[in-house]
Symmetry: D2
Amino acid sequence: MAETSITITPRFYETDALGHINNASIAAWLEVSRMSFTGSLLAGTGQDAFSWLVASIHIDFVAETLMGTDVVARISGARAGNTSLTIEHELWQGEQLTVRGTSVLVHVDLQTRSGAPLPQIVRDGLAAAGF
Amino acid sequence: MAETSITITPRFYETDALGHINNASIAAWLEVSRMSFTGSLLAGTGQDAFSWLVASIHIDFVAETLMGTDVVARISGARAGNTSLTIEHELWQGEQLTVRGTSVLVHVDLQTRSGAPLPQIVRDGLAAAGF
Amino acid sequence: MAETSITITPRFYETDALGHINNASIAAWLEVSRMSFTGSLLAGTGQDAFSWLVASIHIDFVAETLMGTDVVARISGARAGNTSLTIEHELWQGEQLTVRGTSVLVHVDLQTRSGAPLPQIVRDGLAAAGF
Amino acid sequence: MAETSITITPRFYETDALGHINNASIAAWLEVSRMSFTGSLLAGTGQDAFSWLVASIHIDFVAETLMGTDVVARISGARAGNTSLTIEHELWQGEQLTVRGTSVLVHVDLQTRSGAPLPQIVRDGLAAAGF
């Protein structure tokens, strides 16, 4: 089953002197969220969960993310290309959408670091998740 | 004088198990680069270097960034809006462009956290830098 | 109730090129663990969970910490001083103790940043936890 | 020549909501400092700069480390064991000692991850540096 939602508890060292979660920590959280998602798509296959390179990320900081309230990191969409996987992210604190993001991953052969077609199980998992 | 280029020496803890610099570290480096740039635009004014919030970042990972070679982080463009500042980034390792990015900052009143017009000195600095 | 054990799922960006969790990420996890603990001691008091400064940390890396297995971060001991709190840490992956650590915190008045006596509720919480 | 002093410019994302450099960032800086040092001891040998594991770190936070002033990270002492290397650290901001630390490294065979005797060139470099 595709894992499309995880909970992240903000950590103090992830704040900065403006008193909120630093933008680079948000970039790190998107990695946590998408690796949980891609890992779930490959679960039980023995395929390497790390066989993705990040081609691009885009992050809109819609509102400040603060300490003290858990963050729900949702995968709100995903689209398969030939070797790429585009993932849409949302971060929520309670009723507040704080971050909207997009990650583009490339599925790679870890030896050559060149693109490899998305495994069928990934395509099936995306379809099963309604993406 | 606008500071449009800084050198960043990759750090070991910024690598990940794929052996290259992790994408979240790159997001962190863009902050280093743009704060050097915005700080230089406000140098000597007594204005707070931290009076910017990040509205969005976009990062294209053009090639892997590796340990062992210094990174030149260039500001390759900048455009002033009313309260926003859009900054174009490039990271180079030797002759290799490894990252292209865009940061959109909003100049804020730190008390209210709402947008405040870009100071004239920022506009002047951008013009002097040829942006 | 004192929170003496939390679970931490290792994150990919916390690894380094040696393929294990980087030592600086472990230092960060000890902060997560001790703030969960001190926060639980002050829960419901309205007292600021952040009114501690770190005086020292000591970390013994007993074995490598790896991706793929959750880490249990235990507070295995705590001793109250006048204004200080010494906390003993253990990190476990399954049956493997991977890290042993000690944090010394100073309870501070956040305005003056000088030491303030440990609140009685902290002493009571330590006693209730068997420390 | 042993590199016993480097300059680190504090980065905004390394601060936390208390307005100073977070303790975990300091742990990361000690890695930067000791890898510069051990790398310099092995320079030109073709030996792998990463053939060290961290056995322990100890950090005393003598004073807060702040943004806005460069940090000088000094190696103030080093002692060779059979397979281990103990390194003494100091961080200074201007005239203020802010951090005193100790790192214990183990020289390892990266294949087996077991201890390997310190290379003679390391012992020679330590002696040349007056340690």
